[in-house]
Amino acid sequence: MRFLLLTLLGLSALGCGEAVDEAGADALWRELQESDYRSFERAPGYDAARPTIRAHGDTALVFINPVVVAALAGEAIEAWPEGSLLAKDSYSGGKLRLVAAMKKNQDGWFFAEWSGSGEVKYAGSPSVCTNCHSAGGDNVLALGLPEGSP
């Protein structure tokens, strides 16, 4: 019986959600809309939508705010500066499937993901985000840290 209970517990853990920082997600969503993030520069390599991680969809566009743009033009760094903001439109079958964003604040990166219609799915530092992003330089997968001029 104990084995059965442990098995059921393990199975249920697969579908468990994580705490969503609704207030943080709302604030970041407002910032994205008010700053018209789609008017930001595109991240290098994202002149057109390109294949992305399947969890996000088929293809994606990545936008970077002026803080990231300035960092890319500067010296080599080992971490993105505070205020860095990256936003991503992900598409499946040509339709906007989700919007994802990550912003660096005093405490580190704040991740958020919304459906194509703007409903928050994840926000904060959920493992569903950090699990993959930890493989990138300072947690950014879309672009590499600047290496400075040769």
Partner: protein, 236 residues
């Protein structure tokens, strides 16, 4: 004397064979339901993609992709409905740890990647049983639904390659064979199961996504499995 011994031994063999091969007595119940646990473990993997070489976008480094294999294992619950002792429909829910391990060549350097993928596997199958009295062989065919959780990747040496793994829900074609025996209301079974992912692609673009940062996203779902499955169930 020798002839008598041979005759007696022959009778014993014939008796044993008769006992083993004779059908079971008529079942008391036309319909049987059983509930139990099952555990399985074995080899799983992905063949080498085609083509298997690509260039990273930022550094221009060449990467050679291998075939992946690893050990997968898990356990869960099983339910089976049997009719006339010879035909059954079964369903299971297994919590599995799937794995893929391989060595990529990154800019001439060997880098070992170990992908792990927790997943809920739900085999749904039809089973045919030859109801012999002691050891009853069976064969099954069906599908196995796989609902993956979050993948993890270990890179050795660390930092030599930026790797991410991801998997989506998929379906395996399931084939199996084995034997079972019953003692009172306890049914024990052991068998081999083979599963192939339906629609699995070995095209490089379907297995690997290269990001502009040089991070590489890999499909973490095994495209084949060969498992030894052991089960115990209570027959109601």
């Amino acid at each position: 004397m020798n002839a008598t011994r041979s005759f007696t031994a022959g009778l014993r063999c014939a008796g044993f064979l008769g006992l083993a091969l004779a059908p079971r007595e008529a079942a008391a119940d036309v319909f049987e339901l059983s509930l139990g646990v099952v555990a399985q473990g074995g080899i799983e993997g992905q063949p080498e993609p085609s083509p298997n070489r690509y260039t990273l976008l930022r550094s221009g480094a060449e990467v050679e992709e291998p075939a992946y294999t690893s050990f997968g294992y898990g356990a869960g619950i099983a339910i089976e409905a049997r009719v006339l002792e010879v035909v059954a429909l079964g369903a299971e829910a297994l919590y599995m740890s799937d794995g893929l391990t391989g060595t990529v060549i990154h800019d001439g350097q060997e880098v070992t990647l170990s992908l792990r993928q927790p997943a809920l596997h739900v085999p749904l199958y039809a089973k045919g049983i030859w109801p012999l009295p002691v050891i009853a062989p069976f064969a099954l065919v069906g599908v196995e639904l796989v609902l993956p959780g979050l993948s993890t990747v270990e890179v050795e040496p660390a930092g030599a390659h930026a790797a991410v793994a991801s998997a989506e829900s998929h379906t395996l074609l399931l084939l199996g064979a084995g034997v079972e025996t019953e003692w009172n209301s306890l049914r024990l079974q052991a068998g081999l199961r083979f599963a192939l992912q339906l629609g699995a692609s070995s095209a490089l673009d379907d297995r690997v996504t290269v990001l502009p940062s040089d991070a590489v996203v890999r499909d973490a779902s095994p495209s084949y499995q060969a498992m030894l499955a052991l089960g115990a169930s209570y027959v109601f």
